[in-house]
Amino acid sequence: MSTSTTPRPSRRQLLRTAGGLALGLPLLNACTGGGQSAQNAGADPTDASGPITVNWWDHFRPLTELFEKKLFVEYHRKHDNVSVKRRQLDPADLGQALQLARRSKQLPDVHSTAGLSGSVAALVTNGWFHPIGDFVDLGNSPMKDHLYDGIHRFDGKVYTFPVFSGRWHDSTTWVNSALAKQAGLDPEQSPATWDEYRATVRTLDQKTPDSVHGLLLPMKDTDYLGGKLTAFAQMAGAPGQTDWKTGEISVASEPFLQAMEFLLALKADGVLHPASSSLGPRDARARWAAGEAALFPWGPWFIGGLMVEESPAVKRGISAWQIPAPSTQRGTVYVAPASGSFFVSDQAKNPKVAADVLFQMTTPEFAAQLATRMDQPPILIDSVDKADVHPAYKKNVAFFQQDVRIGPVPEVRNGGVAKALAEMRDVHPSPGEIVQAVLTGSTKDYKTALQQYADKATKERKRAIDAAKKKGAEVSEDDWIFGNWQPGQDYTQASYK
């Protein structure tokens, strides 16, 4: 019998060798490319003939099917080397993801700007976007009359175009028609005044089962609450948080106080869903869909969002009520012109291809398809009448035509305003935060709180203007004054001249 003379490795030597291999293999993998395909490694980013993936991030949940099963599929059919990879996130998550991605140079090719609350001008100034005007002919598209300096065009370069109309607000009351009928009400009849609204909500609360409440008013999201306060204040006669005649911050004015009292009155009526204080808007929509409340004020995307996961709630019956006013004399909701929804990032590997995919959204055919998704109304608003949409959605869009007007935007008239806006720090508590504090019982003196906000915001605006001036911007408080602004009318492109 022979015995081997080869020395056996000790346990220590074995561990040493295994550890070295375990560490060395990933390094080797990285050097050789790990077996991944040469799809992107060897492709010339300017050569549109090789395989190209356009990465796309946005927050439009109701548009998932339209983008992924129609727009991108049709584009791929025409350009079989191009595929679009989409990621949909909640607005707050999207804002954070974009900021992190920018720093790590992993921005998608195309993205929306939800969650990046700063002005588009600030983002353009900091080089976030790639201009698209050289790649696509927007001047001869249906978008040509909807492009504004300071919103879509900066220093003569077009960076984006509006896909959605700006003529909307997020304070439409969405009605569970079945519950309204159960309470003996006509779900199609909007209560016109605040008093009628309160009486109607009380009826709904009292004449439906105990497990059903009158109104959902989610209080976790302070932007949502700020939107309600401002919209109701505008229906009471306020121009908005800024008085365009004087340029002053007007959140402590009488209409805002009335709006706050209206919200407090709803709470005092005992008609709010008890979980309202700990819900955000999306949670509240789920509760509404589950039949826990008859009413929920939110934006035009309500039905489109329900259709994604809670379509039985739509089939059950839904109606839209016009935003109420303090009296039969209705105010006006003023909004900015429609901003751009999508941008090609400055880190896009194929900006030309990305811009071309975007350009497919400028056609009336796409606008008609967009309308069927029942998200924000499309910029080519006539398409809603012709589209196959829920009657409540169509009715709501008609309400917007009556109640919403385009207001002035300081940075359109003077690009220097954007530099001042980029210097501005948020003032806390904001109007939305004050509403939250008041509705949850943390504070009672909302008049003082709103006045303090107005004073601090004025001071902060002045500080930001001075800071921008030191950096060479030409801007002053007068840029917030629009002497030719007429209440109740659109402030058009011609008005800026």
Binding site: A122, E292, T440
Partner: protein, 293 residues
């Protein structure tokens, strides 16, 4: 070193990972604290101590700092004390189903904090099981607004946090109790000591060194509650449950123009203040020990 090179090779991944993901961000934030850095810009501008001056006068920063201290002051003793009591009970051989109870108490530890937060928003909801039980048992007339009331929100977060992490502190105490020799308990019983005197004169003195370590570990945990607070309350209502991590996050990512330099200054200042507290605590313990000796 030539013979032990492989030890350093095994340590390398940890050192690299720790350096890249803990040390580098920590040191970098000290520099960022001196910059005016709006989140949309690629780089910031050096402004010296201006961020710290603004921070010192920021009521919301001090509100979040106060909330963090309240969290520490209530949650840590609750977690440490409750876990000790449970460990003493579960360490006794006479306790039935010890293994089962230990497992059940440890299960929340392995769950994800954010998921726990989401689930507890439903459990603590006005129509959720907790309120249903309270109303049906006539302890309250109407549902308690655990998460939407500024008077309750922070304490609700504390309650959920203690529930989630109690199991791991229990394990620490169980391990500590195993180090006490049985002979000491036998000697105490021979001398006529009852349960309370056993605990007071045998268990507690021998557990004191562990108490310091476990408290320190739990305090570090109490300063990392971002996921739970964000999912449960978002820091509201009206900033009533906003702790420093949420304040920093809001300033860095949630602002209209994100303020990365200012947020970094908040992180640095908070770190310095808690370091000062930790030093004060250590000096206090040392003085107490000297007095006892």
């Amino acid at each position: 070193m030539r013979d032990d090179w492989w030890i350093y090779l095994f340590l390398l991944p940890t050192v690299v990972g720790y350096g890249l993901y803990t040390v580098y961000p920590l040191v970098a934030s000290w520099w960022y604290a001196f910059l005016d850095w709006p989140g949309f810009a690629d780089v910031g501008t050096f402004i010296g101590f201006a961020n710290f001056e603004l921070l010192w006068a920021d009521d919301l920063f001090w509100n979040s700092f106060r909330n963090s201290l309240v969290f520490l002051a209530i949650a840590v003793p609750l977690r440490v004390g409750l876990a000790l009591l449970l460990a003493i009970v579960l360490n006794r051989r006479s306790t039935p189903f010890r293994g089962l109870f230990r497992t059940l108490l440890f299960l929340p530890v392995v769950t994800t904090g954010a998921i726990v937060g989401v689930v507890f928003t439903l459990i603590l909801d006005a129509g959720g099981p907790v309120n249903l039980a309270l109303v049906k048992s006539a302890l309250v007339d109407s549902p308690v607004d655990f998460l939407g009331s500024s008077g309750m929100s922070l304490y609700s977060v504390i309650g959920v946090w203690v529930w989630k992490w109690l199991g791991i502190t229990l394990i620490y105490w169980l391990a500590a109790l195993q180090t006490i020799p049985n002979e000491l308990y036998e000697a105490a019983r021979i001398d006529g000591a009852g349960n309370w005197k056993e605990f007071r004169y045998v268990t507690l003195p021998l557990l004191l060194p562990f108490l310091v370590v476990i408290t320190l570990i739990d305090m570090v945990g109490a300063l990392n509650v971002f996921d739970l607070v964000m999912t449960l309350t978002g820091g509201g209502p009206a900033f009533s449950s906003e702790v420093v991590e949420v304040y920093i996050y809001r300033t860095a990512f949630g602002a209209t123009v994100p303020q990365l330099g200012y947020a970094s200054a908040a992180a640095v200042l908070f770190g310095l203040l808690t370091m000062a507290l930790a030093i004060a605590q250590a000096l206090g313990i040392r003085a107490a020990r000297r007095a006892m000796a």
